[in-house]
């Protein structure tokens, strides 16, 4: 790529461009392929320069924005965080792990409460109101367990965002804008899937009723 200082004013740019084209045409007529190729490369580099500068700025701003986030435990522990995007992904992984632990804690407690309702039932004859209360408790515990399934759904969305960030990171690296970036993991078959549908964003998502209709149309 051309390393000469870029012409500043439009007039300078125009004059430089005319000069490059003139030399290129001259080289073409003389059959001087080396000079011709060199001039064409210079012209192409000019064309690409605003794009590369834009990407560099984008990369820097993204890095700044991510650097302003609170540091995850993993980054502060070893003190090295050479790559903000990888760091952001680590934060997202952390969210998945933390919410998973919280869900398991809730499920543990729900299990314990179910056992307690069994104890209540076997402890002695319950009057009607008590029996009804125990039945309702068990139903509520089932609902509570089911509500924990949102950990899986939000976790899937977070993992997808992390995959996008890692890919972005890889692309910046391939442009030479992130020289220390780690190559992202190779693509997996599952990454082509849409994942959990988000209301107001995924308008073509099917409801259970839509799916039932479709499947019954297919003979299932």
């Amino acid at each position: 790529m051309d390393t000469a200082p870029a012409p500043v004013t439009p007039q300078e740019r125009r004059a430089a461009l005319v000069e490059h084209l003139r030399v290129a045409l001259d080289a073409f007529e003389r059959g001087d392929e080396t000079t011709l190729r060199q001039k064409i490369d210079t012209l192409v580099a000019w064309r690409a320069r605003p794009l590369v500068e834009g990407l560099r700025r984008l990369s820097r701003e993204l890095g700044d924005a991510l650097g302003n986030l609170p540091a995850p435990e993993s980054a502060s522990a070893d003190g090295v965080s050479s790559d903000e995007l990888e760091d952001a992904c680590a934060r997202l992984d952390h969210v998945v792990v933390t919410t998973e632990q919280a869900s398991h804690r809730t499920l543990d407690l729900a299990d314990r409460c179910r056992a307690l309702t069994d104890t209540l039932k076997t402890a002695g004859p319950l009057d009607q109101a008590q029996a009804q209360a125990v039945t309702e408790l068990r139903a509520n515990l089932s609902e509570l367990v089911l509500a924990q399934s949102y950990q899986d759904l939000t976790g899937q969305i977070i993992r997808r965002v992390a995959t996008i960030l890692r890919r972005l990171n890889e692309n910046f690296a391939s442009l030479g804008l992130k020289p220390h970036a780690e190559p992202a993991e190779s693509g997996k078959g599952a990454s082509d899937l849409a994942g959990p549908a988000v209301a107001n964003l995924d308008h073509d998502a099917f409801s259970q009723n839509d799916a039932d209709e479709l499947l019954s149309g297919l003979g299932l």
Partner: protein
């Protein structure tokens, strides 16, 4: 095929919370003979190692996905008649059709309710009962 309350069910999902939730719901419905696997590959190993009557699987998993597991089951002479219920967040029309074409027996979109699970199980049992 054993489709009674003591049938052996393999629950396949990469999220341990979801495996636990499905297991819990199945327990509530009276099905207590369950085992778990965290992707298609480990599920296939488990299916080859011991006998199962029913498979409940997620779709999107690292390693082998649920749809590939389904195809592998249908392509395996020993396993091809095994009922497979897909429980997944994938809610696109094409994916549901893909699953149907691959030979899925039921399809539940996450998030789901205990009632939906019960209904889909009943429907599958009804069909298997009718063909048995």
């Amino acid at each position: 095929m054993n489709l009674s309350k003591d049938m052996r069910i393999l629950i396949v999902d990469d999220f341990s919370t979801m495996r636990r939730i499905v297991k819990n719901l199945l327990n509530d419905l009276g099905y207590t003979n369950t085992a778990e696997a965290d992707d298609g590959t480990t599920a296939l190993t488990a299916l080859h190692q011991s006998h199962f009557d029913f498979v409940v699987t997620d779709w999107n998993m690292p390693g082998m996905t649920g749809i590939d597991l389904l195809k592998a089951i249908r392509a395996d002479d020993k396993l091809k008649h095994l009922p497979v219920l897909m429980v997944t967040a994938e809610a696109k029309r094409e994916q549901i059709i893909d699953a149907a074409q691959a030979g899925v027996n039921g399809y539940i979109i996450k998030p789901f309710t205990a009632q939906t699970l019960e209904e889909k199980l009943a429907k599958i049992f009804e069909r298997f009962g009718a063909t048995a």
